[in-house]
Point group: C3
């Protein structure tokens, strides 16, 4: 049983209300009931407080007067909500044992408290750090190394020569270390460039379901600490992504591109190869990044969604835009000359 | 052996021709041979009838005079073609047995006629409905529940606490219930928001290969009955998709967005977070949906494909479009004033 | 131990320098050290030669005077670099044995030297050609056929009735032969069109991680020889892709579209259904291909990435582009009439 007092103490927050109140879970303001905790992350949600049935709320001290019920006062309510979720962790607890059906090569090394799920395969020379979870059916390639306290969900494939840091999470069916897409044009065929590099992933990195990170052609593909990747992202060979950069689902980064620190890429962003994106660059959804970006800031491309009838009329004009620009320039010239001729002095 | 009479009877269609004709399969008009069934779904394909070698054709009664051979008369030929394919089902038949290498937790419950493939893992407290197929290597997380008559192909991963309805199809390597992409900015790091919600998927839902559907942050991610999702789609946490909505491959729906009933999203559509899309909304391919859409209709964004030389001249003008609009407005003003001055009365 | 002489001999290239020099690997010009081989693929990289510590360099005879060290002279340095990578193959060597935990159906046929990894499942009637690798946990569906010398990495799923040629590479978690996305609108529900066709993949085809290739509805989905597909590509039912066409990551090809030979599609390209793309067509990244393309050449769509502030001003004007075109036409008409009236003769 968790009480409001337990939560206040775990989060080191000032409590207003009854510390003995039992809290069984967390819910949004409009759904929370009397034994649930909720939170207000931004002032624009304050009006929802009046109707909320929440047993307690995490909110900013400045907003405390808007709520007469129990609350936890925080100058960063969203961050403390994030921390509160860890008090209600409902994920199955790793067993800390090696399942008898798993196949761990005799030359592989495992730390203490490692969980290896059923039908997982750990190849020669691989190493798994203490307290790491290797889920059911996971494949750890020869010589690959995984740090401590990392979670690898079922179906993940690590090729050979891949390094994963500590406290990472790899979601189901992610693939790390497949060949980069490298071919030289030969005689009526592509000739494959063997991808001799590896992948190096830092600590506290999260990688979404079905995300793929290719091995480097010669050097390594690198994700620095605290990088967070959503599902179904493609990271090509020799890409480097800086600390704390977050990328939303379905984005793709082409080969040898470097992305700086503290960037955010929204969903379905495409970044071309061999570019350099600086720190603190933010790209909106479906951004089409075909040139390097040095300046921090927010960037976008594309056109807004419109009713098809309107869109099709505009789109056909886009195809003639250069011509329209010429016509405008010509109009300006003609008008200027006409104005001159009608005002000759 | 299937005869044309069998098919007419199974589909409850009027037959014109020899009911004893053996039919071994279905083929398009231009490829069908004398022991194959074909169909005409739209009148525009009628001209192809004259050259077709098909043994029999499903077509609309209005078109029957265009074809002198055997036929099945249907007021919905495409629908009856769909139903006819089920008479030629060539998928391997599930064994209805539990493979000895599968690992079914003692607390899991299985209905009658369930097939569990080799190396599948069904965790504690999970339940699988009658006649459901759990393919090879599938992972069913703790406490997850799958309805009756559902097919789950190899490599699918269901995390814990996921609910799948009856008569669903989940294609290979789909992932249901991975963590939503939720993080709070902390001190020089992202702090993970544990995703405490689940996924609820209705009946008659089809989910394509490598599609990922994340679990909710607090509440659930929900797909209603008869939703159909193609391959490699990403559905983020707390998304809700209404009945019969169909989404084509490579699309992505960001967090907390609600999509109505009877919508269709073409391929590679991106929908931003926290939007509401109404019923009967249709988005064209690569649509960039960044605002809510209430009105039914067809919507589009983007620009048409062009030869690169033309495109690049137009694209550079797009970057100056606001300026061009100003120049046009200025021209209008100047011209108006000039016209006034030359026609002073 | 590999010497520079060994490499010269293997690649049949003229050597300038000491053939006894030991070479332990390949590296880019700026990283290579004295026992590593490097290469100059284009003249623009020649300036980097002066600072390179490489033990030897593959370069064009015309550029030999720019480098005083050991070198291998090649009229196609990039192609010879590709070939040189094969002398430093660091991939784990397939064992050539059938792992005791794999399940090979008694009616399946295996060539000589086949490797079947742990927990792989090969269903009834399947055939695997000599020297092919079936990785850990791979699923080969009933009646599917794989040629000789092909590599199938862990987690790949081949449904039933799929044909893969010789010397192919299928990367981890790719799915071949899942159902195409075919449904007929029925009474308040979609009715599934069973996908009765298969997939036929030629020789020397490479398929990236998590790429999905659906089976045909009636006929087959076909990839001709030497096609190369990057990661996370979606190929819909009944698509046909011609020889040597290469497609970069995250692209999607909709149903029944035919793509010619020697095409290249950059990343995240979307191609609509039922189109015909000719030979030698090249589509830039995020291309939105909604019409057939007959003429060889380079094509593009979309708008350039811009600072959001500028983009939003331009994007709003795109929504009024047809109207702006009308205003320009009106200006032209008015101005012409004004010029006429001021110059009446």
């Amino acid at each position: 049983m968790t009480t409001l007092g337990d939560i206040a103490s775990a989060l080191a927050l000032e409590l207003r209300g009854d510390p003995a109140l039992e809290i069984v879970g967390i819910a949004p303001l409009e759904q929370a009931v009397s034994n649930e905790l909720s939170f207000v992350s931004q002032s624009k949600y304050l009006p929802q407080l009046s109707d909320s049935q929440a047993g307690a709320v995490i909110l900013h001290p400045d907003w405390a007067s808007s709520w007469s019920g129990a609350c936890l006062l925080s100058d960063r309510p969203y961050l403390h909500y994030a921390r509160a979720t860890h008090l209600f962790d409902n994920r199955p607890v790793p067993t800390g044992t090696i399942h008898p059906t798993s196949l761990v090569h005799e030359s592989a090394t495992l730390g203490t408290g490692v969980t290896v799920g059923p039908y997982a395969v750990i190849e020669a020379g691989a190493s798994i750090g203490s307290d790491t979870l290797v889920g059911a059916g996971v494949h750890i390639g020869a010589g690959s190394s995984v740090g401590e306290g990392t979670r690898i969900y079922p179906g993940v494939v690590l090729y050979h020569g891949v390094t994963i840091g500590d406290a990472c999470i790899l979601h189901a069916n992610a693939v790390i270390g497949a060949d980069g897409f490298g071919f030289a044009p030969g005689e009526a065929r592509w000739e494959k460039i063997l991808q001799l590099g590896g992948v190096i992933i830092g600590n506290h990195v999260e990688i979404g379901a079905s995300t793929t990170i290719d091995r480097g052609a010669l050097g390594n593909t690198v994700l620095e600490d605290h990088v967070i990747l959503d599902n179904q992202i493609h990271i090509a060979h020799n890409v480097r992504i800086g600390e704390r950069t977050g990328i939303a689902a379905c984005s793709g980064i082409a080969g040898s591109t470097t992305i700086g620190r503290d960037c955010t890429l929204a969903g379905m962003v495409g970044v071309s190869d061999h570019l350099t994106i600086g720190d603190n660059v933010h790209i909106n959804g479906q951004g089409r990044v075909t040139r390097s970006i040095a300046e921090p800031g927010v960037y976008a491309s594309g056109t807004p969604i419109q009713p098809h009838r309107d869109w099709s009329k505009n789109a056909v004009r886009f195809e003639q835009l250069a011509q329209m620009a010429k016509r405008v320039a010509q109009l300006e010239k003609k008008l200027a000359s006409l104005m001159e001729s009608t005002n000759p002095d």
